[in-house]
Symmetry: C2
Subunit: 107 residues, 2 copies
């Protein structure tokens, strides 16, 4: 993605008793986002946590999803009105409360 | 990046008194990584934290750097022998102890 674009990361912290359904997330949740946010999304990536720094340690995050927007306004104007519907889908694939990071692409 | 590749994210948590020199990081630290890991790196991205979920809230992470590798072995074989040199550069741009996430690219 290009320098200056907005990257919104949704990070799902790992922990005892935490569940995350990657199949639902990568197919149905992504389809929901695509339908609601449409062209405002300039790119999307998903990764599944494997481990941490120490050998054999658990990944800090079970999963991370990233969405790219042209600028902050494009994110706010598309996500804001749909936030309730998007967040309402979370219980369908996880019991984790995600951490949201809004960032600017540097490289 | 392609499905199945390894994404190593280095996340720098924000907090009181935390400092992060993005200029040094995005130029000198990246050059150090390139010199040490070379062709093992299939891609690299950096983002600078702007905010969190609540309006006006600070970004959970001051910065995040991501490196992509073909597979876990490529990461371990290139990073392992150079870990000390790479981690030794951190005090030159930050006083934050980073969180390391090793993940698999899903989408």
């Amino acid at each position: 993605m290009q320098k200056g674009m907005i990257k919104v990361s949704v990070l799902y912290p790992n922990g005892d008793g935490k569940k995350f359904d990657m199949d639902y997330y990568s197919i149905k949740h992504v389809a929901l986002l695509g339908g609601l946010l449409g062209d405002a999304i300039k790119g999307a990536t998903i990764e599944s946590g494997l481990g941490g720094a120490a050998p054999g340690s658990p990944a800090p995050f079970a999963a991370v999803g990233n969405l790219y927007f042209e600028n902050l306004e494009a994110f706010q104007n598309s996500f804001g009105p749909n936030a309730e519907k998007i967040m309402g889908d979370l219980p369908n694939f996880t019991n984790i409360e995600p951490v949201i990071q809004i960032a600017e692409v540097v490289v």
